[in-house]
């Protein structure tokens, strides 16, 4: 038997390869260099170079690696979002790494590995590559979650995340096997062409895959791990995974449903709409009574997964591009909110209680104002980034004759305004007895810079949404 080597060009995978090489370099430099501060900057440089490669790929024709990976506009848009997230997350983690950790090299390398996984999720056009990308991203995040070894809660969060994540992976894999059995293909286009109307086996396969995806992007009722993990993990890791893993998960989720299951929208559309309603409502109701800021942000991220899912459930092109825009807008505002949490948290505690927010505005007016902007954006107040994200996905629902879904979404946004405003009000409250206490805030320059960047983009994306929306529409064009 002769085996002919297929001609393979790794060009479409260039951005990921650059990041991978950077991660390996970081590990290498870590062993020989004394000054660990440069590791973060090396990784930061890697994300920039990778970004240039993404830009370069966007100029040429669409490249594809067999039926495994692609570098189409959609993949490149996700690459952009994920690279921005990774770059800001590196800056957010910088000071915590320098002061409280001896293993900067591992942290930075794992963060880059997770980023490679996320970018691959966007580029994957085959169930095999989606699965491998999902695991690269998840395995790195499990370790990162447990990185604050001096805190018991960090290890606990990592264990919970790992057990539920591995459990979800098994569901995902079973779903993939059943789809393979009913279509004879593993690439998304092949599945789409051969699945037909699908039988019991195909239906079960899609349902199991949906469970796997739902775990990863934290949709109710598969969200149980989220609050514990976001609260226990180092705050910079919570920031990174709340936006990065969500963007990557939705990227593969959207591509899978739009390409492999385009023919059976009538079946999965209503199911996803129901999931979206359940997720937004559950997330928002649970967030109302949280006393920990990180836990509140965790439930808020569940609610936002619900809003984003509205775009997917709508199933039209405005829904797809709206979802992509939402992921971008959400990245900036949530990274910012977690960044403020990093500033406010007491060393060693790894968390911020709501009660300790009192009187922040008097001693740190700029910080309080910044947090207020992020909170308003998360609540969807115009003209900030979050408002347009919601506008587009709810608009898509109306366009798809699911006005009721948009109405539920708007009601939920109103509900969510309560707890976002509560954070703001607590910061601005002139409470005399509590106000005497010094609000401890660390303001290292790198962290401040990261926050300024996030703030800048929340405002810019809000003021000129059409520029970003055009990019998202370009990316969504591949679904035809």
């Amino acid at each position: 038997m002769t085996i002919t080597m297929p001609s393979v060009s790794l060009m479409p995978y260039l951005p990921e390869i650059i990041l991978l090489v950077t991660a390996l370099l970081v590990l290498l430099v870590d062993t020989v260099w004394g000054d660990k501060r440069w590791l973060v900057w090396l990784a930061f440089l890697g994300t920039l170079v990778s970004g240039v490669a993404v830009w370069w790929l966007a100029q040429g024709p669409t490249l594809q690696l067999q039926d495994m990976l692609t570098a189409d506009a959609y993949a490149l848009f996700i690459d952009m979002v994920v690279l921005i997230v990774a770059a800001i997350s590196l800056l957010l983690a910088y000071d915590w790494l320098i002061e409280h950790n001896e293993q900067q090299g591992e942290y930075v390398a794992l963060l880059l590995f997770a980023t490679v996984g996320m970018m691959t999720m966007g580029a994957a056009i085959n169930v095999v590559t989606i699965f491998v990308a999902l695991e690269i991203l998840s395995l790195s995040l499990y370790i990162l979650t447990g990185f604050a070894r001096e805190r018991l809660t960090s290890g606990e969060a990592a264990l919970k995340y790992f057990l539920l994540g591995a459990f979800a992976s098994a569901f995902f894999l079973y779903g993939a096997a059943l789809l393979y059995g009913s279509s004879g293909h593993l690439d998304l286009i092949g599945i789409g062409q051969n699945l037909g109307t699908g039988g019991l086996m195909a239906g079960a396969g899609v349902a199991l895959l949906l469970v796997g995806f739902s775990f990863k992007v934290a949709l109710a009722p598969f969200h149980m791990w989220t609050p514990d993990v976001y609260q226990g993990a180092p705050t910079s890791v919570s920031a990174f995974m709340s936006v990065g893993a969500k963007a990557a998960g939705f990227a593969a989720f959207l591509r899978f449903f739009q390409v492999a299951l385009a023919g059976s929208y009538a079946q999965w559309g209503p199911a996803l709409a129901a999931l979206a309603v359940l997720t937004m409502t559950w997330g928002n109701l649970a967030a109302l009574r949280q006393e920990s800021l990180k836990r509140l942000l965790a439930y808020s991220s569940i609610a936002h997964a619900g809003y984003a899912l509205v775009g997917l459930a709508a199933g039209n092109s405005l829904g797809s591009s709206g979802l992509l825009f939402y992921l971008l807008a959400y990245a900036f505002m949530n990274l910012g909110a977690f960044g403020v949490a990093i500033m406010l948290e007491k060393p060693g505690s790894g968390d911020v209680m709501m009660s300790s927010l009192r009187g922040t505005s008097r001693q740190h007016p700029l910080l309080a104002a910044t947090m207020a902007v992020f909170m308003f954006s998360l609540a969807g107040v115009p003209p900030l980034a979050g408002f347009f994200g919601k506008l587009y996905v709810f608009g898509a629902a109306v366009e798809a004759n699911m006005a009721w879904l948009a109405i539920v979404g708007v009601i939920n946004s109103a509900l969510s305004a309560y707890y976002y405003l509560r954070v703001t009000v607590l910061m601005y409250m002139r409470d005399e007895e509590a106000g005497e206490e010094e609000v401890a805030v660390s303001k290292p320059p790198v962290l401040v810079f990261a926050l300024v960047v996030a703030l800048f983009f929340v405002v810019i994306v809000g003021l000129w949404p059409s520029v970003w929306m055009q990019m998202a529409q370009q990316a969504a064009l591949i679904f035809g």
Binding site: L139, Y142, E156, F162, L178, D228, R295
Partner: protein, 102 residues
């Protein structure tokens, strides 16, 4: 020749046993073992589908090999986490690892 459905039934049974174990066990290692059982049940599915439906195309076989590799990596990370928990708390029971709730 053994019909395809027999393989699928064995795989489904193994998966359900693993599922039950993952939900009912309290020991983190036992949960990990149950999850491995679920993953291996899927591998039977892949190989059976490959052999019976698309023997000329290697995709299913390759996916099974990749799944085994990923499961090994997962076990490495999982066991490391369990050891870290055991060192700090002297327990691997998930019932006693309960600082985070609300």
């Amino acid at each position: 020749m053994i019909p395809l459905s027999w393989y699928l039934i064995v795989a489904a049974l193994l998966f359900v046993i693993g599922f039950y174990g993952a939900l009912s066990r309290r020991n983190a290692i036992a949960i990990l073992m149950s999850i491995e059982l679920m993953l291996n049940a899927v591998n039977i599915n892949f190989l059976a589908f490959w052999r019976y439906l698309t023997p000329e195309d290697m995709a299913g076989q390759v996916f099974a090999i990749i799944a085994i590799t990923v499961a090994a990596a997962e076990a490495a990370v999982g066991l490391a986490l369990v050891i870290a928990i055991y060192r700090s708390r002297d327990t691997v029971s998930v019932d006693e690892v309960d600082l985070l709730k609300g």
